[in-house]
Amino acid sequence: MSYELIATLMFSTMMLMLLTGQRVFGAIGFVAVVAALLLWGDKGGFDIGFSAAMKLMKWYPLLTLPMFIFMGYVLSESKIADDLYKMFHVWMGGLRGGLAIGTIGLMVLISAMNGLSVAGMAIGSTIALPELLKRGYDKRMVTGVIQAGSSLGILVPPSVVLVLYAMIARQPVSQLWLAGIVPGLMMAGLFIAYIVIRCRMNPDLGPVLPAEERDIPRAEKMRLLRAGLLPLIIFAVMMIPFVRGWTSLVESSAIGAIAAFVAAVIKGRMTREVFENSVRNTLGITCMFMWIILAALAFGAVFDGLGAVKAIESLFTEKLNLSPWTILILMQLSFIVMGTFLDDTAMLVIVAPLYVPLVGELGFDLIWYGILYTITTQIAYMTPPFGYNLFLMRAMAPPEISLRDIYSSITPFVAVMVFALILVMVFPGLATWLPDYIYNQP
C-alpha cells in the first residue's frame, strides 16, 4: 500500500470514528496502531503503541499537567474566587457594562493561577453568570465574555498548552510563558474595549448597577480590594523562584498546587466535598489528556515513519514555491479550519509536530510562533462544533441559555481574537519584548 494511501486512510478513519462519537484517544490510537501494522508488519508494528507510553513517561514537563489542573479545581471548587468577584462587582458596577468588564478582570486573575480554561469557565459560569443575568445583562454577551475570558487561561502563565508547545518545539517554557503575558493582557484589553463600545452603543446590554447596590462604605470597598492580593501571592510564590532559576518547572508547578491548596485551607474553604471534587476531577481531566497524548504520540511516530513532515515541507516550499509569510498564514488558517472539526488536544499533539519544524526552518522565531499558536488554539477552543470551552459552557450554563445562544455569543469575541492574532503577527515585539527584556539583560 502506498504511503499516501495509508496517510489518507488514517485521517479519514479517524474522522469517521470521531464523528460517530468514539472517545478521542480510542479513535487516534486505533488508527495509529493499524497504520503501524500496515507499515511495519507484525514484527515492529505491535510495539509502536506501547513505545509511545515509554516516550510519554520521559516527557517530564507533563508532570505539571495534574498540578495546574488541580490548582484550577481547588480555586473554582473552594469558591476562593467569590471574594474576587465581589471585589470587581463593587468596584466596577457603576460603569455601563461594568460587571462584564469586571468579569474579564476576574478571568485575568484566575488565568494567572491555573493552566487551562476549566477553572475560569467553572468560576465564570457558577459565580459571575447568574449575577450578571440577574442584573439584566444581555445573556449572549455575558456567555461570550466568560468563554473568551476563560480562554485567557492558556495564554497567561502558567499555561499547559504552552508547556505542550514547548516540548514539541523544544523551546524554554519560561520564555514562552513570559511571552504570553503582554498578548494576554492586550487581548483582555481588547475584550474590555469591545464591551465598552457595545454598551455605549446599546446601554441595555449592560445596565449600570442600581444606586442602592453601589452605596457601599469606602472602608468596605478597600477591604474587598485585598481579595485581589491572593491570586497575586499564589502567582508570585510559583513564578518568582521559577524565573529566578531556584526551582525547576515541575517543582514550581507542585509549589503552585500546594499554595492554592494551603490558601483554600487557610480561608476555611477546603471542605470534604471540595477536596473530593478537586481530587476526582483532576484525575479525570489528567487521564483524558494523557491518554489522548499517548495515542497521539504513536500516531505522530507513524506519521514520521511515513515521512509526512518531509512531504509537507516539500509541498509548501518546493512544489508550491510559496513565501515564508504565505506559508505561515496558510498554516494558521488550516489550524483554524482543523480546529472546527478536530479535537483541540489531538490537534495540538498531531499537527504541531508537522508544522513547528517547518516554521523554524522558514526562519521565524519559535517563541513568537508559540504565542500565535496559542491564540489560534484559543480560537479553536471556542469555535463550534468541536471546542473544549464550548463543551464546558454547555455543561455548566444555566438552562435559560440555549445551545444557539452559546454558539452565537462567541462570534464577536472570535473576531476580537483574530484581530489580536493579526496584531501579534504584525508586531512580534508584543510577544518577544518581555522574555528578551528579562533574559537578555547585559
Binding site: L19, T20, Q22, R280, T286, M290, P385
Partner: protein, 189 residues
C-alpha cells in the same frame, strides 16, 4: 447471557472504581516528591531519584486511573452528530467503534507484555509463552533491564504496573461494550 453481562459489569466496574479511587490520591505523592526535590535541592544535595520517581508515579496515576476516568465520563467525545442521537442509536455505533478501541488496547497490552518480558531478560518473540514458562519453570529470568540513569532502577516494576493498568482498561472498555449491547436490547443501565 443477560445475567452474565450484568455480573461482569458489576464486578469490573467495582474493581476499577476501587483502584481508581486509590490512584486518584497519587497526585499528593507526586506533589510530595516534587516538593522534596525542590527542598533537597535548595538546602542539601539534589536527590538522584526524584524526577524519575515522579515519572513513575505519574504513569501509575494516569494508567491505573484510566478505567475510573472512563466511568466518570471524562473522556471527550465529539458530539456534533452523536449528541443528537437516541440512546439506542448511540449504543449501536458504540458497539462497533468500541471493538476498534478494544483492538487498540489489545495492541498496547501486547506491547506492554513483551516489553515487560524484555525487562526480565527475555529477547524472543513470544512473550506470553515466556511468562507461561516462568510459571512452569521452563524459562528463567535473565538480564534485568535497568534505567540508563545513575539511580538505575529496575524497569520491570513500572512496566508491570502498565500491564496491569492496560489490562484493567481493557476490562473496563469491554464492560462499556456490554452496557451498549444491553442498551440495544432495551435494558436500562
Amino acid at each position: 447471557m443477560r445475567g452474565i453481562m450484568f455480573g461482569y459489569i458489576r464486578v469490573v466496574d467495582a474493581i476499577n472504581h476501587r483502584i481508581g479511587r486509590i490512584a486518584m490520591y497519587g497526585i499528593f505523592i507526586l506533589m510530595g516528591i516534587l516538593l522534596w526535590s525542590s527542598i533537597s535541592k535548595t538546602f542539601f544535595v539534589p536527590s538522584l531519584w526524584t524526577l524519575e520517581m515522579a515519572q513513575f508515579v505519574m504513569v501509575g496515576y494516569y494508567i491505573l486511573g484510566g478505567p475510573y476516568s472512563i466511568q466518570l465520563g471524562s473522556n471527550v467525545r465529539m458530539d456534533l452528530l452523536y449528541g443528537e442521537w437516541s440512546t439506542r442509536k448511540k449504543a449501536w455505533f458504540d458497539v462497533f467503534t468500541a471493538l476498534l478501541l478494544i483492538f487498540y488496547l489489545c495492541v498496547l497490552l501486547y506491547g506492554a507484555v513483551s516489553s515487560t518480558a524484555y525487562s526480565l531478560g527475555y529477547w524472543g518473540t513470544e512473550p506470553f509463552s515466556f511468562f507461561g514458562g516462568l510459571i512452569t519453570g521452563s524459562e528463567e529470568i535473565g538480564r534485568m533491564e535497568r534505567a540508563s540513569t545513575a539511580w538505575r532502577p529496575y524497569l520491570w516494576p513500572i512496566k508491570a504496573v502498565m500491564v496491569t493498568g492496560l489490562f484493567l482498561m481493557l476490562l473496563q472498555c469491554t464492560s462499556e461494550l456490554c452496557k451498549d449491547v444491553l442498551r440495544i436490547k432495551g435494558e436500562t443501565i
